[in-house]
Symmetry: T
Subunit: 71 residues, 12 copies
């Protein structure tokens, strides 16, 4: 992996289903415009409550991807 | 949201099913006595192991709710 | 201060004016129901943005107060 | 421990004797009004100095207790 | 807020007036090119000193905004 | 629990199904060689992305177990 | 800035006016005895409450200054 | 100390007497099987409460020891 | 530096030579597309091991640069 | 406490007796040269092990004192 | 990497040459008894000073390796 | 090391060569006025960039030294 350069950006995915779904849907969305997505790291899990129920999960995470043009 | 005051309390929900179920069951329990529950933030995920299996998940989280009487 | 017991609770004050105003308004509100408020510690400063302007500040902080009945 | 809900509150105990005494006296005080106290976690140890001597220890800690009504 | 995706970027605003002004001026600048700015979170407050006076405040903060195209 | 000694080790479980499955499979694996596994604490959740999809979850966690021979 | 050596010390400024005033007054005081003050970094904001009002702000911060004699 | 290699492991000692006793008893236990124990670092202090009294202290700490065979 | 706005992005540089080389090569790469690079801050140092040798260093760091158009 | 300026310095006290003794002996030593010592905050507890026993405790802590000349 | 289990251990390498050498020599030493070493993460860099010179670097880091028998 | 008292101060060394050189040059400088320098701990590594190249490294670290007069 010598001399490759990766960039990490921070996203917040949301879902009313759960933590993995919030992650997956945001990763899929990011994959539409960013190539070479490589890994993610969860930063925070929070969410909204409505009428005493969790109405959605909001998962903050970093996504790493190789920058185009780095060997 | 000007001049509203929210309070955050820290709860530990538990479940033998998983992380989301531990969160949801504790949020539901808290909602029986607290109105205006608004959001949650996960602080820690831990759990118990029995006979080499995870027997329950214990999710520590903060719940924020608007204090009655704040505009 | 020997053998006094203090309790700390976590509040979120908000204001469209600034950080000190968010703190002060939430401290005043808390002082209506809690006696012996003694000190505060800021945990986080965040806020909302509307139309490219900060519309309010939300300051999370802990308030310490002496518990009634502790010497 | 399935589906029990615990609450954590943050206290500051003080003592001129030492860290354990500050913890124990605050736990005893809390136990007068809260049932089901279960565990504690130390957050910070600080204290006051008078005339070049430690005059008291102030131990900030969280106490967890099972909420009444959770199974 | 189901299935929306937000992105967080980190900015450093500066001002010789104070913390809120450093935040507001950087939020305004960011709003010229980014739509849907939604919230901010302060990461660090620092600044420069000249001739024994604070010459400017530098406030590092994260800004969250909804990504175009996420529902 | 007086005078028992526990040891904590740090493991990384992985799974293409989700966070709980990554935890459970690593706990089961550890239970084949370690007796007295007692609890776990999640340290980090990260994972790999392939073709714009999360291909596996990697959950770093600590496992505590009572050391043989401690009373 | 090659081979300069800076030292950082930690101060607590206080003010009944606000956070910036607490910083500025402590920086001014430090500047009476220390030359070459260069930058500051806020560590913590806390304060005292009297009669339900914030009576003063106490801002802990680090100050960096170039050590005399380093090139 | 050139080119020595040390390993750190994480233990949890417990005692109904206090923090130092929990540390010492776990260090003694570890010393039965590990040679060259060199230093410890406290990670967390927590404990159990029974009938409104602290029934035992649980001190999590790291122990460092020189690995056999490193010069 | 009044009213300038800086942005910080997070990169991961890699090198089989060492930490400084991983930093420098990623800074050089970033400088091909970003003007006004001003400073960096190391977040994490990790790396890969092959056949018992460190095969490359991966240094995560933030880079700050002045945004075009801010005075 | 308006406009007083405090300084915090970091000390490491050591003792073969325990944590409180390490704190107290270092506070006493500091009090020989520094007036106005006001409070302390524990940063870290570590120590040395010899022959499977804790031979001394090393307690890192910050001490705050009012600077002479501040009102 | 599905269902592989990795273990992380914490080592302290030392060297009078520099940080990379301290890492490399400890990794080499660990590789003599542990197979499948995969990655490392630096936790802390510290060292000893003798006669006003750095006499050795002590680098604390975690090493991850795949556990034998996990697929 | 019983009843010795150490003090820790925080310095920032800089160098255009690398991290170790920034540390060593600041340690040497400090050793001109402080006796008994004993150890250092790195707090942060950052630096300046000019024309797309790292122009200098700035390493913040703590230095510990035994206070004269403590046994």
């Amino acid at each position: 992996m010598t001399n490759k350069v990766h960039k990490k950006i921070e996203l917040v995915g949301s879902s009313d289903k759960g933590i993995e779904d919030a992650l997956q849907s945001a990763v899929s969305f990011a994959g539409q415009t960013l190539r070479n997505l490589d890994w993610f790291e969860v930063v925070q899990v929070r969410g909204s409550i409505e009428n005493g129920k969790i109405s959605n999960y909001q998962v903050t995470f970093q996504v790493g991807f190789r920058m185009e043009g780095s060997s």
